[in-house]
């Protein structure tokens, strides 16, 4: 069982470590594509979530949601994936 709050904390942690200049006061409303401009960073982001959430994430399962959804919506999806795992 993965909590939504834990997902958002893991997302915030990644941006604090890797993109310290990005404001994190409205992380739920931001999209990955607002911040991440390189595929390597996107992969690092997914690997970070895998490690922190103890979840195996298939990039193809999330697909374009990774860049079109907000982190809040993404957190909801990851909670669902966590339930199904």
């Amino acid at each position: 069982m993965i909590e939504r709050k834990a997902v958002l904390e893991a997302i915030a942690e990644f941006f604090a470590e890797n993109f310290p200049n990005v404001p994190r006061d409205n992380i739920e409303g931001m999209k990955a594509s607002d911040v991440i401009q390189q595929s390597l960073d996107l992969v690092e982001f997914v690997l970070h979530l895998e490690e922190k959430l103890g979840l195996e994430i298939n990039i193809n399962t999330l697909g374009e949601k990774l860049i079109t959804k907000t982190f809040g919506e993404l957190a909801d999806d990851l909670v669902t994936i966590g339930k199904e795992a």
Binding site: S33, I36, Q37, Q38, S39, L40, D41, L42, V43, E44, V46, L47, E50, E56, N58, I59, N60, T61, G63, E64, L66, I67, T68
Partner: protein
Amino acid sequence: MRTNFVSRYIRAIYAPLVGIPFTNQEMLEAIAARFEALEVDDSEKTALFDFIRLLLIGHRTRYNQYGEGFLWMDTFSDHAEAFTRALEQSISAIADQIESAPPGRQFDAVFGVSSEGLLLPGIAERAARRLGGLVARTATQMDIGNGGCTASVRTVQLVKNLAPEIRNVLILAIEPLSTLIDSKSAARSNWQGICTFGDGAAGVWISDEPGEGALALGELSSWRGDATELIRWDLGTDYYRFGIADLEQFETQVRSEVLKAMTELRVEKNPGAAWAIHPAGIMLLLSLAKKLGLARASLEPSINHFRSCSNMSSVSILHILKNIIGCSKSGQPIRWLSMGAGFHVACGGGVRV
């Protein structure tokens, strides 16, 4: 008891760049233009284009031997003729490099490797014709098809196990993946292939005599898992196209297969070795490195190759190896790990002479 053991050495890797470079941005613009004529409903088209934007995020280049109109191939003949043209171009580019510093002895075997199409005469015969006197008339000349991304290193493994009478071998790996592009299809695996792959060509000279800068081949092994259909050619609109059995579970299945193979093959975590890892996506590369206990720095040759050339199927590992061998010192252990359709995992290595 084995009595015919012979030491073999990679004497040279020929790694020309063939075709025209296309950046992610150029790809995205070309695909956007092609999508205007794609016959699927608007919502599906929008979702597919968002998926493609995800695949093309950041800076990456691939080479394309078809040229500007690569998204407008229209018939079986377009694809098949593009395959033949690409092979001729690649053979010529490899031959130019061989002729600039030719081996002192004729090749007594030539193997052609490609997974994208068929043609007669084959790669080996065309290369032998192009190389003239560098290939003996009595040389073994054979093509190896349908091997996927591990085909080149599995052919190196095959050559290592040949009879001692065969002393000087040339392998040509030629993968014009652009010929598989099916721009009329909305299949996601098809577009994943279009965005992931680049065209490539490479040659390997393997000899039973060591030489300056050679790599003495050590143990080479390969493994086949149960996910036989995981990566395959699907029948496209006019030709074959890249296909994946279960796209949503693809990364997870690949990682699982590779980890099973690594356990069975007992892949060493030699911290002093330089590594060439097939760039089957950065996600796999980075997660594999963690499992292998490799430092991020050791992945740089593979990541750099992926950035500049994308995934050239069985050609990529040879380009990466050439770079690593060129940068290594005498006595340096070098390892490789490749994975692909079959589902095959192939690993091996050696020591820089």
